[in-house]
Amino acid sequence: MVIDWLPSVLITTLLVLAVVGGVRRANLWRAGQPEKVNIVAGLLALPRRYLQDLHHVVERDKYMSRSHVATAGGFVLSMILVILVHVFGVSSQLLAGALLVSLVLMFVGALFIAKRRLHPPSRLSKGPWMRLPKSLLMFSLTFFVLTLPMADILPEGTGSWLLTLVLSIGIVLSLSEMLFGMTWGGPMKHAFAGALHLAFHRRPERFGGGRSTGLKPAVLGGDVHGVAKPSDFKWNQLLGFDACVQCGKCEAMCPAFAAGQPLNPKKLIQDMVVGLAGGTDANYAGSPYPAGKGDAKVLGNAKGGIDNVITAGLIDADTLWSCTTCRACVEECPMMIEHVDAIVDMRRFLTMEKGKTPNKGAEILENIIATDNPNGYAPASRTHWAADQNLPLMKQKQTAEVLFWVSDGAFDMRSQRILRAFVALMKAANVDVAILGDEELDCGDVARRLGDDATFQQLATRNLATLGKYKFSKIVTTDPHAYHCLRNEYGDFDVDGVLSKGGSGQGVEVLHHTTFLNQLVQQGLLKLSAFKGGKVTYHDPCYLGRYNGEYEAPRALLESLGIEIAEMERSAFRSRCCGGGGGAPITDIPGERRIADMRMEDITQTGAELVAVGCQQCTAMLEGVVEPRPVVKDIAEILLGQLIEEVH
């Protein structure tokens, strides 16, 4: 290099600019609402969260995970060494050598990333993201050449003015992308915001193999309910939006996107970024929201600002109502962004502040408020289904080992078949069970997903008060939605410790009926004959699988009948939603196809004649598909068919 001081000046300038950008960006996030986060613990946990939890998600795509490890690892290492070697001028052959090695590592990784970008899948964003691999290559090459003299491989002062010029341009261009762009909104922002997002994540329980899926309670009585403007999000939610790498894994998994409903989780997060930083979505270079049945959207028309109402100009309300809250996007997101939280936050604003729950939403909510069930049935008819079941009521018994949470399936004739099947199985196993009868209320799932947290909180409090009157050690339910609410969401309102301590002080175990039945089968309490039907596949309900991690018990039950499950391509944590969650059948946003039809195609592709389900909502949605189609049965119904009744 002819001018020795030039590289270090350039690097320092860009570093300073990056720091300025970082502070500026942090201020954008700080426009959000305060949320208590343990800063130090978060930062300390960062490497572990990055290397373990995030990598665990990225690892699902081996090609990408390896390329990323090489590139990102190479870059971080190179950057540190570049600062040492080129800015502070530490002259050590060893350091220079290490720098060269890490640059080579990075170069190789970047090559693979560049290769993927040759024919990028549609889920990937284009635009500046197409430039990124080139910048990565340029960075590693520039600094490689720049470092060669330091490692004594080339003599000092090699090169000409021309080389100096080329290297200087290389430094400026590549570091603009890598440092300046990182904090000023370029593609590399994902590294900066992503790292901090991991450190200050709103759900730290998710790291280290944990699970945190319950929605956070809305604060009632404040100036605004839910999220109207980007500044109404918590600051770390805003930070989370900025972490998006636009990899489109969410888009590829989103059932609403596939059905042509106007939702694309990736675009939604990018629109949130537009909202927090201000401007329009003109620079967005990924797939837009599907047009649904309306006109295709032209990019650049969506305008946002930190204090602009989001649904007035940035995104359509229909986009928010298309979500089935299936969490496929969250499960798939390598950055662990919480899409569903954001969507429900914004729905809360639409419902509680605007009174604009679409289609049947308003009617359903009104019914829930007036009758404690979504369809406005007489509360006194809640136990009619069990007239011939001889089920004791908690009111009479006061105490039982198992409390059977019946859920609103009690009013639906199809779901009642599932309930009866489950009751018959419990009777066969002599379970000490009781129900709440007419004292039970809707669990509040639908109200909460539709954004009416006031009603949800009321139902939760009232249900908890009822539960607090009786003694039981387990709650079992056939409805994964109720299961999720009771297990993960009621805790926030359980001031008396009804569930956490329970009547016995041991805490109450909330179980899905498949888990419970599996326990019974394991204990040998149910005698079952082998299943002799045709091919069987299993559909994982979102609220059982992704929300609660129960993938095994249903499968174990089917296997106990000698069934070899013909798994669908999208099963377990990648299961595709039936379209019945999050109030989606109520808000009924039109698309090009129905989610349930697509799921039924997944099922028919396995050649199965029977699809086993563990959720009454899934049963209803899948049975709503026009025949001919495989038979849909709840696992309880299948088990009952194989039950060997003992004659006493």
Binding site: L220, G221, M352, E353, G355, E366, I369
Partner: protein, 256 residues
């Protein structure tokens, strides 16, 4: 000049759960009032200003409600009359019948009589108001409509056919102010003597056969009940099948 519109609201009762709610027809009166006068609408209630159900009405987008504070046992009509007389009101909107209390549906008529205003029942919509007259659509059975024009001021009671009430937003209802107005009222003395009990199920009228002879009685007792399986036409030509359908439609008088 903006219209001065008052919607009278009462505490409703859900037919299935019996729980208090915003009344179906009264909330339609608020909806129509909002359409005509936007937030300049006065929503008026006689009763307890702390009733949480008032928040459900307010959630429709009302900045405030006016409550004439009274006990349940008080006759609302004179109280309302005194209040309405003081104001320069164009239209008073009510429900046809309350969902609680006597449900006689007399309030609009008594008020109209007391104020000397015309009253129309079962309004589906108020299409236009000009030159001191309102063009009103009345609901007739089976979705039919009648147009009438009425001189202002008048009282209208809302039919179920009127536009359904918008969703009540929790937060809007929470923020609304309730202006409680002290008022003088008399206890409804006549009602004190009534006996009230839970409604008995009314027997459906059976098809009674007036039979004078033993043979006729026997025939009536052994006659096959009507209904059962209907007629199925399989092998006839489409023309004959269509004819059979059309004849049934004519017989049922649904072809006009």
């Amino acid at each position: 000049m903006p219209l001065n519109i008052v919607s009278l609201v009462s505490v409703g009762r859900h037919p299935q759960s019996g729980r208090a709610r915003r009344a179906e027809q009264d909330s339609r009166a608020v909806e129509l009032g909002l359409k005509l006068a936007d937030t300049a609408l006065t929503v008026l209630h006689v009763g307890n200003p702390d009733d949480p159900i008032l928040r459900q009405y307010a959630g429709m987008g009302l900045p405030s409600l006016t409550v004439l504070k009274q006990e349940d046992s008080v006759d609302a009509v004179p109280v309302l009359q005194r209040f309405l007389e003081q104001k320069n009101i164009d239209i008073v909107l009510t429900g046809v019948r309350a969902e609680s209390g006597e449900s006689s549906g007399m309030v609009p008529y008594l008020l109209a009589h007391a104020l000397g205003w015309p009253v129309v029942a079962r309004v589906a919509d108020i299409v236009a108001v000009k030159d001191g007259k309102a063009e009103v659509l009345l609901a007739l059975p089976r979705g039919q409509r009648r147009a009438v024009s009425i001189q202002l001021p008048f009282i209208a009671s809302m039919d179920h056919a009127a536009e359904a009430a918008r969703q009540s937003a929790f937060a809007v209802g929470l923020r609304a102010t309730v202006e409680s107005v002290e008022s003088v009222g008399e206890v409804d003395q006549i009602r004190v003597d009534w006996q009230e009990s839970v409604a008995k199920i009314r027997p459906k009228r059976l098809k009674t056969v007036k039979a004078k002879t033993a043979a006729e009685r026997f025939k009536a007792a052994t006659a096959k009940p009507e209904g059962g399986t209907g007629k199925v036409m399989k092998n006839e030509t489409p023309k004959e099948k269509a004819r059979a359908i059309f004849d049934l439609l004519l017989e049922e008088k649904v072809i006009r």
